[in-house]
């Protein structure tokens, strides 16, 4: 590995961290007991997000990770009020978005922008690039600035304004379209940018360009990022703090390096050990099973059906978020402290049968169907 490792560390100029001169109390976005539910037909309900509390500090990048169907994209959209959450509140700059009228929410939106997974379908195919990027200005009555601001933003995201002037999205590759999406999001100089799987549709060689660009834009525009992704390597690199979600709840929250190097929640341990690594062998701990349906989530701790440490208590009592080390929070009755990833964790007496995780009863086909659908589609 010698040569490649050396190269990558040589190239890696670690970005200056502004964490120190930023007060931990300067919270720009606060989610309180956020709940999002969708009707699933036949009186059933999809519990997409079930009461999460989260604070995003000004200037940080908060990573939101989890498998498909865990509610991470729904959380991102609930912040934007797309759609409005079923319960709980979203405080942005001290105001509760969920309690505001639609018009008031609209007025706050310029400060809160979003970019999406599929860069091509999130752009209007019939409009020219400068119009796509300049439209937010027109909407907010600053159309006169268009000719000055748009070329600046396009240059900032690495596009030549003269070259793209007459072009439409289909004439660009996925990576370039993602640059256009980023330019469109930045043109109003937002405070918070929510990135929903911004690089998962891109080729490996293009992905690095966009990730570096996001870091640059964050520095240039003083952004706060909420970065939603399922690729843990990507999240690990870009985030200051990471929240791990499972079936609509947050199971662990902490500073990136600490969380990845010594995960506390059994689910985080499973995720981290599943990361395919450039450095070689898999780090032990192979998971079993799949996520249960969000239509009928397990009682108590939602991870217990796949957890090697589950006990009776996990079935009866929902674990509350608590601080297990400075800055590190987990919702688990049996957090794993002081054990590095890869070392076996001693399974406690498993009182909960590890049930097969789909269609296990009369409502079987429905449940499993929506499970499959959820796992494949909730992302986009």
């Amino acid at each position: 590995m010698s040569s490649t490792t050396d190269m990558s560390t040589d190239t890696g100029s670690v970005l200056e961290k502004t964490r120190d001169d930023r007060s931990a109390d300067d919270v720009v976005l606060r989610l309180e007991d956020l709940v999002v539910e969708f009707p699933a037909g036949a009186g059933q309900v999809v519990h997409a997000v079930s009461g999460i509390n989260l604070e995003v500090r000004r200037g940080e990048t908060l990573g939101l990770v989890g498998e498909s169907g865990c509610g991470k994209s729904t959380t991102g959209r609930a912040i934007m009020q797309l759609p409005r959450p079923t319960g709980g509140s979203v405080h942005f700059d001290g105001r509760d978005l969920a309690a505001l009228s639609p018009e008031e929410v609209r007025k706050l939106r310029p400060k809160l922008q979003m970019i999406f997974q599929d860069p091509i379908s999130s752009l209007n195919p019939r409009r020219r690039i400068p119009d796509i990027v300049g439209d937010p200005l027109v909407v907010w009555g600053r159309g006169a600035d268009k000719d000055k601001v748009v070329p600046d933003v396009l240059r900032a995201v690495g596009l030549d304004p003269d070259q793209v002037a007459d072009r439409r999205p289909h004439q660009f590759s996925g990576g370039q379209c993602q640059r256009v999406s980023i330019a469109r999001a930045l043109v109003l100089e937002p405070e918070v940018l929510i990135c929903d799987e911004p690089v998962s549709a891109l080729d490996v060689s293009v992905q690095a360009q966009i990730l570096n660009l996001l870091e640059d834009m964050k520095a240039r525009y003083g952004l706060t990022l909420v970065f939603i992704a399922h690729d843990l390597g990507v999240v690990r690199n870009i985030s200051d703090r990471v929240a791990v979600m499972y079936l609509g709840r947050i199971c662990e929250l902490g500073p990136t390096e600490a969380l990845f190097d010594a995960p506390v929640h059994p689910y985080t341990r499973l995720l981290v050990s599943s990361i395919p690594s450039m450095e070689g062998a898999q780090r032990g701990e192979v998971g079993t099973g799949e996520m249960p349906s969000p239509v009928s989530p397990p009682s108590g701790c939602r991870f217990r059906t796949r957890c090697p440490l589950a006990t009776d208590r996990c079935a009866d009592e929902v674990p509350q978020m608590r601080e297990v080390a400075p800055g590190r929070f987990t919702a688990c009755h049996h957090p794993v402290l002081d054990t590095a990833v890869g070392e076996p964790i001693a399974p406690a007496v498993t009182a909960v049968p590890t049930t097969p995780l789909t269609a296990s009863n009369g409502a079987g086909s429905n449940g499993a169907g929506s499970n499959g659908a959820a796992s494949s589609r909730t992302e986009s």
Partner: protein, 392 residues
Amino acid sequence: MTRPTDTAPTTVAAEAAGRHRAANAAGDARPAKGDLLTVDDVHVRFHTRNGVVHAVEGVSLTLREGEVLAVVGESGSGKTVFTRRVMGLISGSRETDVEGTVTFDGITLSDLDAKGLAGVWGKEIALVLQDPMTSLNPVKRIGAQITETLVLHHKLSKQDANARAVELLRSVGLSEPERRVRQYPHELSGGMRQRVTIAIALSCSPRLLLADEPTTALDVTVQAQILDLLGDLQSRLGMAMLLVTHDLRVVRSRSDRIAVMYAGRIVETAPTKDLFDAPRMPYTEALMNAVPPITGPNHVRLAVIPGRPPNLLSPPSGCRFSPRCPYAQDRCLTEEPPLRPASELPGGGIEGHSYRCWYPVGTPENAEARRRNVERGETAAGTPVTGEMVPA
């Protein structure tokens, strides 16, 4: 759900092993660890409205019995077209030109007609596709889909076939197999469906498994499970496997050899360890550096590959990677480098490591090319050289 590794060796495994042993004991013409699949100078060209797409251009490789060869490439590199050509799913027609030969265990697959291929498909060579949602028939029960090949090739009775289907589902780690055989694909999750497609692929104990991005559509935890399952079955059954993927990371610990494809060509091939230890082709090096590391500090500046994969309607002349390569010199723009063995390099190289580059990574020529490009601020192709591109 049972862990794949915990499942007792099934009769599938035993049978296959037995069959392979018998074949060898019988003094069969083929050697114990002979070449199972030989692909020689395969070309695939598609005639489209906009011109000719040269999707696969002169690919040659061999796969030994029981070996795992990973084909790695980005979208548009031709890896899927290549796999389909090997399988015989793409053949010559008015819109498609094919050249070159594909030989499987003495049979020239590329000469077989549809009927001949049908005798090989499923029985000797099986295919697992990327998307388990669309590769299963939505209106047929799981059991019927698994037994289809068994009934065709082995003339099993319905009852025996059904018992075998249950057994196969158990061997791929699916819970409650008796109930699953009566279910439809939509009743299963993505990971479970991929297990079903693997069970189908394994139903006749093939000697070669082609897996085209088998885990790309799956979650990371499920991806690890499926890859472990494939690796486990592969070694137990002694199958050879062609694992096609875009992610170098997933094959690091799961392949014997790797072939890197770019713009329809193999640009580097080597035993897995050697490729990671000493990549010679700048594209391979760049791919490795572009992946975010999972150890060390966060906010690391990622090495960037400028531009994007070439359009195969009008591929660049000379080396296909030259417009994106930080080391490109004049020669790279006009002359296409041949695939050369790394063992000829001064530092030496392992047998079976070849690369396609005029200025291979790790040589003085490469260092010189890099110095020159950094000095003039751009490569011979006119690509600006930035710190992100060229490792210091």
